[in-house]
């Protein structure tokens, strides 16, 4: 079965024009001026993984448009009793869900769900695969700070391999011809990452990544993921941490982004996180209108 219209499973198979449509619609959304586009609709937030930002902003977005939301987490639900992904989906459908927003530790889980259920499925992050709403809100944030994607250079620094945010960002930016530089140690940024889409270059050298860069996207580095690698924590910090000194290597008007949660003192210093060029909290803020647009699209109300 084809995924229902309005599903958002990833950025990869989305047209550039569709991306622009969502971003344009997001600009008209304001959570403080509720618009009842989803009045009476039931939005189920099905979270198999912990989440603060994504969950709360989908919930606020849905409520700002008049929807009812139901949160289901793996603990305290039938999932804990061994119910399969599809059975959970069929059950939610039967109970009257109109839209399912799903976060799952396994890549492709939203895709499997969407192939079997006739309501829109929105991927709120699946394993190492994609995190499309994050990529869209990041694109929204970039466009609030830069005139257009044209001629932009974006450096993504950190654990690319384990990052669904990075994969979605690459797919999105590449659709608009953005130059993408991936930077980090080999274990976290394998050469194969350059095959993901067009316009990607891999470098181990942060100076090279920053030179001429308009947007710096940092990714969280999980300590446990460094375990067993050839690089240790102090070395990572020495080579890849974003600091004021390093920020100067980028363009003067470069902005710093991070999907969160940030670990101060690891992938970035506090003066970067709190500095004038940081857009980290703006991203969180922009998450709500972006997700309002995503939900409106799912409900067939994005006009």
């Amino acid at each position: 079965m084809q995924p229902a219209r309005g599903s958002l499973l990833g950025i990869e198979h989305l047209d550039a024009s569709e991306v622009l449509k969502i971003l344009k619609f997001a600009r008209r959304m304001n959570p403080d001026k509720p618009r009842p586009l989803l009045k009476g609709k039931r939005v189920v937030l099905l979270f198999y993984e912990p989440s603060t930002r994504t969950r709360s902003s989908f919930e606020i977005a849905a409520k700002a448009m008049g929807a009812h939301t139901v949160l289901i987490q793996s603990s305290g639900s039938s999932i804990e009793k061994g119910e399969s992904l599809l059975d959970t989906g069929y059950t939610l459908r039967a109970v009257g869900a109109d839209i399912i927003v799903i976060r799952h530790p396994n890549a492709g889980a939203p895709f499997v769900m969407a192939q079997h259920i006739d309501i829109p499925v929105i991927n709120a992050g699946d394993g190492l695969h994609e995190h499309p709403s994050q990529a869209l809100l990041d694109a929204y944030t970039i466009l609030r700070n830069k005139k257009s994607f044209k001629g932009l250079q974006v450096a993504i620094i950190g654990d690319i391999f384990h990052s669904r945010v990075a994969r979605s960002a690459c797919h999105l930016l590449s659709k608009f011809g953005v130059k993408i530089i991936l930077c980090g140690p080999e274990e976290l940024v394998p050469e194969i990452a350059a095959t993901l889409t067009n316009g990607i270059r891999v470098t181990r050298n942060i100076e090279e990544a920053l030179r001429g860069t308009d947007v710096i996207m940092l990714l969280r580095v999980q300590k446990e993921r460094l375990a067993g690698l050839r690089i240790d924590l102090p070395e990572y910090v020495a080579r890849y941490q974003m600091s004021s000194a390093r920020l100067k290597m980028a363009k003067k008007d470069a902005i710093v982004m991070h999907p969160g949660p940030i670990i101060r003192g690891l992938e970035l210093t506090s003066d970067i996180a709190d500095g004038a060029q940081s857009r980290i909290l703006a991203e969180v803020h922009n998450g709500v209108p972006t997700r309002m647009a995503i939900l409106a699209r799912a409900a067939g109300k994005m006009k």
Binding site: E12, H104, H116, G127
Partner: protein, 433 residues
């Protein structure tokens, strides 16, 4: 099976391809009392109670599959010996070697005997492969002699590798004493935890943790090294899938070690880039590999490095496959598509002679496990015969499969080459009468 026919059957007018006897010619074959009674030029053999018209068809020794999972004992919801061998017969296989990773594990003579009992309802000959270590836990070896006496033709911990060097060395040494092959599922599981496909551009794009070619090759290299050191050791590499592992097998063969290997139809037909997003009917272990690996396999199939085509038929119920890709069971069915894939891919596309393909299904596998009287149509051999139409075009439909499970990536494939009849012990078992 002890299908002993008092009547005789004359297979007339076919093209007999029997690589073991170096025959590729128009011949008639007379089966009598469960054996090949006579093989002679057309029209020379008179009198027989039944005749089979094999004009325009290839008459080959009964096919042998060295690697099938028939799931009994214990997992009859996926497949039974009866349903699995029915599918085998439909695919032209008259003999199948069953893997011991059932529930419980076939690690005792009692379970081997259980698999061989007539009440299992086997439609083809069963040759059990028993576990190499108790419970396939990789530590204490099973009783190879007793297992062999009860009918096991090889030992393996298939599904899992024997990782410990000392245990593998001991297994090869003890098996060598009784001329028993040790079959290895080559995968360094320390390198493949939570992995569900081959490591490459596709796995990166799908965000799936992935197995490197090195995880297979490193084990094959170690095993070949051991086989070269141990006198009379017999190593059989199961479902070999990477170019580097082939290099190790070649090294062993050049050194005149008793190293053999098998390749599956899916590994010579598909690569990782063919996997539709998160379609678990393309998930198996070893996984679909790179184009370079597939090319290397084609060379090795042609030059004799590969001894046999084996299906690794691994049926699973729908609910075990219709889940998150990473949580889906490994394995696909393969008995009913093996010959057609070989003819389509190897003969039609790559110009392999039909005789080489038949060899990979008959004489090759028979040699790997010393299946005496099988894999040949020499007079006195068992009356196991596979008759196929090498030109017939057809579409495989998974829903019509005779296996209990339908987990195949080849549903809807247009293929060339079709089984017309399968004869086990002189009795036509496919099509069922």
């Amino acid at each position: 099976m002890s299908a002993r026919n008092t009547t005789s059957l004359l297979i007339k007018g076919g093209r007999v391809i029997d690589p073991a006897s170096r025959i590729d010619a128009a011949m008639d074959v007379l089966l009598k009392d469960g054996r090949v009674a006579e093989i002679a030029p057309p029209g020379k053999i008179k009198s027989a109670s039944d005749k089979f018209d094999a004009r325009h068809l290839v008459v080959a020794p009964g096919f042998i599959d060295l690697h099938v999972h028939l799931r009994e004992p214990g997992q009859g919801y996926k497949e039974t010996i009866a349903t699995g061998t029915t599918a085998a017969a439909a695919g032209g296989f008259t003999s199948v070697c069953t893997m011991p990773n059932t529930a419980p594990i076939v690690d005792s003579p009692e379970w081997v005997d259980w698999q061989l009992r007539p009440e299992r309802g086997a439609q083809a000959n069963i040759f059990p492969i028993a576990a190499a270590t108790v419970g396939s836990r990789g530590s204490a070896l099973t009783d190879f002699r007793a297992l062999q006496r009860s009918g096991a033709v090889a030992v393996t911990d298939d599904g899992k590798p024997i990782l410990e060097d000392d245990i593998m060395r001991e297994a090869l040494t003890r098996a060598a004493e009784i001329n028993l092959p040790v079959v290895q599922h080559a995968e360094d599981t320390r390198m493949t935890e939570n992995c569900s496909m081959h490591a490459g551009a596709k796995s990166f794009r799908l965000g799936l943790r992935a197995m490197t070619a090195a995880a297979e090759a490193s084990i094959v290299e170690r095993d070949v090294e051991l086989a070269m050191q141990i006198v009379n050791a017999r190593l059989h590499v199961a479902h070999l899938s990477t170019a580097d592992a082939l290099k190790a097998v070649r090294r062993g063969k050049r050194a005149k070690s008793r190293v053999t290997c098998e390749v599956t139809p899916h590994h010579f037909s598909l690569t990782d880039s063919d996997i539709p997003d998160y379609d678990s009917n393309y998930k198996m272990n070893p996984p679909l590999r790179s184009t370079a690996d597939l090319e290397a396999i084609l060379v090795a199939l042609a030059d004799g490095t590969v001894d046999a085509i084996a299906t690794d038929h691994a049926p699973h119920a729908l609910h075990e496959k219709q889940v998150e890709f990473e949580r889906a069971n490994f394995g696909i069915t393969g008995l009913e598509t093996a010959l057609a894939l070989a003819i389509t891919r190897l003969h039609s596309e790559k110009r392999f002679p039909l005789a080489r393909i038949v060899e990979l299904f008959t004489a090759g596998p028979a040699r790997c496990f010393d299946l005496r009287g099988r894999g040949s149509l020499q007079r006195g051999s068992f009356a196991d015969v596979t008759i196929f139409d090498p030109k017939k075009r057809w579409t495989f439909e998974a829903s019509k499969s005779l296996s209990k499970s339908k987990n195949t990536p080849f549903d809807g494939w247009r293929l060339t080459g079709k089984i017309v009849a399968t004869i086990v012990g002189g009795k036509i078992v496919f099509p069922s009468q």
